[in-house]
Subunit: 389 residues, 2 copies
């Protein structure tokens, strides 16, 4: 079955699409990446997403319109990708679309008289994707896990488990997107032994600082050029490492609530007051990102299982400063790119949502209760029929 | 197949649930209403819905949380209804949930650089309903029609067509909910000959005025007690009948955008300035509602087909002043309640969404392009799997 997975991450820079050939069923699922495509959002669309995701005031009209507009963007990305791959649409059998998260609250809080309401909101209307492509589309994966009592995240660890479990090797899959998350798959693990959680920021803080410092001209620190020029600001680094989130026990999820614009602004204010150099600030935050990941290993992973390999994916895997700091902080663990398993770093999540959609389509539960905290397995996603045209 | 349909209308007073036994396939679909249940929203939930639906400023957090909270309310209504009917959950095979519309823009407008974006937004998370009941749930019916180029409304006419088509009789189905809508099914019609559109306000304006006048103590004009005491204000009635919406040719949809709080406030201001009596204002608006429906018959229905019967459903069918005015304005047409066809007035829409869900579940298109303006048929809704518990 040829399945297209699509993802737009917290950085909202655009849409990743991954074409995956999938057959069989777990435990003998066979998957092969056939193509990867990236489409950028128009600048004003990205700005609108980030504004909403950062909690600015809005209206029902704006959210509704943006949901449909992003549906069109996702559909266009799918169509463009198929042209690029010379794949006739009729050969595409299923689309799995994560959409764009604009709100995520994993833990319940009081709301309109109800004691504990938790929720998540992804936009990018799947019905538009199904109509434009004619392909059956599964979207909106997170609510079903939250309905089962989970935090609705992380979802990719289920796919890590399917792909990386090994009888003899303990492995950790690390994805460094806007947020960084890890999946521990101990040697010989069954699904109950898998541990997965967000370690904290991935590229989110680095990107926010680089964007602010360059007045929007740069979206990220390409090849760590800025960070590699700077020097770490020790007092700031130490203060950051005392962030409450790092100590919190898994399952846990992070997002803009903890590491978004507000926190980035605090850092910028700190730096301004002390006349710190921009490159020093970027280096400090890059090192913080690496050390927050390593910290999670020491606190929550090493006490549970022996780790032989760390398999890295996500845009952050291309930041040499981040990777060097991570390697130094985790001696004795072999760090390998996910490409070695056929998954290029930047398509990891899109790839995962193709596989999650395939499992949903076949009516099989595909959340990981040990990772999300869900009380029971659930079949994630909502299915919209494609149309014979 | 036992199917539960659920609906919360624009008045947001609560949830209607209809249990329908359905078998066969069109044109020989067999349906039977087995039960009806109504659950009221808590006052603060209703207030929040109305505030959002009226376009007040909000946040992504509020919309996301309200989506999940309404999901819980819908799930609870489904569970309560099954207890009331002494129906074991395991016997319920499918749920169709319309959800609560908080935004609907049938016609496209410029948005973030895109030329024409139209959209609709229903909340009341279907994944929560599926998880709490264990029953496969189809929700979110409108986007697929809009993705096909339609206005996403009206959807009930497809069901009217299935239920009321007759070889010899021309029929109009009229539903008076918050908004009033009609479906013309000419004698011997096939699906292409069906015309359906919103005529304008149903109970929406009457309810808004009664609520304002009673300072929130009354939600609607029970038995037209207020309206029957008043006298029509002719100049106001004539001005209202010049409303642009009435002249607009179908397909067309109405909502709070035209007949919501803003318009109600204009009427209240008008009345205050001229010291009109509240009962006169309520009577005038009730008559306007009846005449706006009759006006639609004269402009758009009578030129197309002979009408033998008018089949009325919705809360407005219980307003004797509204029905009397309507009868007087449409001489020669027999007005019958939908109850005669086994559909009680107040369960009409919930009943319809059970049938729409049944059709979607079987992979059959269930929009009415002639009613919505869609360019092609579409299978409406998004399917969420129920779980074996």
């Amino acid at each position: 079955m040829l399945v297209l997975g699509m993802m737009s991450g917290t950085s909202a820079d655009g849409i990743d699409a991954a074409l995956v050939r999938i057959s069989g069923a777990p435990p003998s699922l066979s998957v092969k990446l056939e193509g990867h495509y990236h489409a950028r959002f128009p600048a004003r669309v990205r700005q609108a997403i980030l504004r909403l995701a950062n909690g600015s005031a809005t209206t029902t009209a704006e959210i509704s319109q943006l949901n449909f507009l992003l549906g069109e963007q996702l559909a266009r990305a799918a169509l463009e990708a198929c042209v690029r791959w010379r794949l006739p649409l009729g050969k595409l059998e299923l689309i799995g679309s994560h959409g764009q998260t604009i709100y995520h609250q994993g833990a319940g809080s009081r709301f309109l008289g109800a004691r504990r309401v938790a929720s998540t909101l992804q936009i990018g209307e799947p019905a538009i994707i199904a109509a434009r492509t004619g392909v059956t589309t599964i979207g909106d994966f997170r609510p079903a896990d939250m309905a089962a009592g989970g935090q609705g995240a992380p979802l990719v660890p289920f796919v890590d488990y399917l792909l990386y479990r090994n009888r003899k090797l303990g492995r950790v899959a690390l994805n460094i997107g806007g947020i960084a998350n890890v999946t521990l798959i101990p040697a010989g693990a069954s699904v109950e032994n898998v541990l997965a959680f967000d370690t904290g920021p991935g590229n989110m803080l680095i990107d926010a600082l680089v964007s602010a410092i360059s007045r929007g001209r740069k979206a990220f620190d390409a090849d760590a050029r800025i960070g590699l020029r700077g020097r770490a600001i020790r007092p700031l680094l130490e203060e950051m490492l005392r962030h409450r989130y790092l100590r919190q026990a898994p399952p846990k999820t992070a997002g803009r609530e903890q590491f978004g614009q507000e926190y980035a602004q605090e850092l910028l204010d700190w730096a301004k007051k002390r006349r710190a150099r921009p490159e020093d600030l970027v280096r400090t935050v890059t090192i913080f990102t690496a050390l927050s990941i390593a910290d999670a290993f020491r606190r929550f992973i090493f006490p549970r299982a022996h780790v032989n390999e760390l398999i890295v994916a996500g845009g952050g895997a291309k930041n040499p400063l981040l990777m060097a700091q991570l390697g130094a902080a985790l001696p004795g663990i072999e760090i390998v790119g996910s490409a070695r398993f056929g998954v290029p770093a930047e398509a990891k999540e899109a790839f995962a949502f193709a596989i999650l959609a395939y499992e949903s389509f076949h009516g099989r539960a595909n959340n990981l209760p040990s990772a999300t905290g869900a009380k029971h397995p659930a079949i994630l996603g909502k299915l919209v029929h494609g149309h014979a045209r």
